[in-house]
Amino acid sequence: MPGCNAPIADDILLDYWVRDVTDSDETDPIEEHLFACGDCSARLHQITSLGAGLAALVRLGRVKGILSRSLLNRLQRDGVHVRLYSLSPGETVPCAVFPGDDLVVTALRADFSAADAVTLSVMGPGGSSIGMVDDVPVSRVDGEVLWALPAAIVRQMPSMRLQITLVSAGDTRAELGTYALDHTASPA
């Protein structure tokens, strides 16, 4: 088989695959090329496999970090068992993970009217740093940041208090809220 003389760029393949390109004037030449070119169709296959793998991971609750509200809603609709804790600034909430839980999500409410992004930091006993997440995109409309951990990870955690702080990103670094989770370890 001859190689490809005019490969389609990866970003165009990606736009085509996720339906950001839908006009037939644009999609028809892409499809003509993909059917005639094994190299480009193989690259598209790699992208789609990656996408399918990502979707599979999420369905298994194997995702950690920041979620959007629409992602959370979709997960719940798809039957992923989500344990959700919602906290306002200054609030302390007892938390645990239960049998059957797939994902633990902490909803941190705050006033994001002056922030485009925030930094989320998590401290353990004695002020030890457990983790920090930078440049977290925030929705001013929703007024919350959703922080997710797979239940499998939370099940390994001992009983302890987790202190979470949200600080606006950028030069101002204004504190937007501190929150505490009193975590009870899962029975061995």
Binding site: M1, P2, D10, D11, L14, D15, Y16, W17, V18, R19, D20, E31, E32, L34, F35, A36, G38, S41, A42, L44, H45, Q46, I47, T48, S49, L50, G51, A52, G53, L54, A55, A56, L57, V58, R59, R62, V63, K64, G65, I66, L67, S68, S70, L71, R74, D116, A117, V133, D134, D135, V136, P137, V138, S139, R140
Partner: protein
């Protein structure tokens, strides 16, 4: 066969000469993944896409055998045309699967390629965790929630163009991470 052009394969099938069965198999091996991707893109369902592969390539081979494909050098365009027509039919009509499939079933038609079975999901999980938050949210909204760049942009308060840039960068990072030989904890 593996070095033959698509046109060579189509002509070998049409000739019904010794070796045409091998040409059919190679034609199928070559085009099945392309038709499957087309089916997934337009029909949004793995099983239906696999059905499309079988129907499209079965019809293609029948037309070649019957000498009804005029320009064998443009066999790829022919297969795309059949894919378009059949995908439209699939959207409109009940799929009479068994009735169409059974009389002509050849052994290689059952081996429709699936999604990449070699993808290491555990490694992908660790690679995903290495992405910047914004990149991770964008790829999850794209591939799991199936949102367009415009929809993701609205949700995250960034432009559609910016979403595309972030998405492209994230996928590039993931592909590099997945294929690297680096040992990950």
């Amino acid at each position: 066969m593996i070095d033959s052009t698509d046109g060579d394969l189509a002509r070998a099938v049409a000739a019904r000469a010794p070796g045409s069965a091998e040409a059919e198999t190679e034609l199928y091996r070559r085009f099945a993944p392309r038709v499957r991707l087309y089916g997934l893109r337009h029909l949004h369902d793995e099983e239906t896409a696999r059905d499309l592969v079988q129907q499209v390539l079965l019809l293609t081979i029948e037309k070649l055998r019957d000498g009804l494909v005029r320009d064998t050098d443009r066999i790829a365009s022919f297969i795309l045309g059949v894919s378009r027509t059949m995908a439209k039919d699939l959207k409109r009509l009940e799929w009479r699967r068994e009735k169409l499939r059974e009389p002509f079933m050849a052994s290689f038609l059952t081996e429709v390629p699936a999604a990449d079975a070699t993808l290491d999901v555990d490694r992908l999980e660790r690679c995903l965790a290495r992405l910047a938050e914004r990149e991770r949210v964008v790829v999850l909204l794209t591939f799991y929630a199936e949102r367009t760049a415009g929809e993701v942009g609205k949700e995250l308060g960034v432009t559609e163009g910016n979403v595309r840039v972030i998405r492209h960068r994230a996928i590039a990072h993931l592909r590099t991470c997945i294929t690297s030989r680096e040992v990950m904890p």
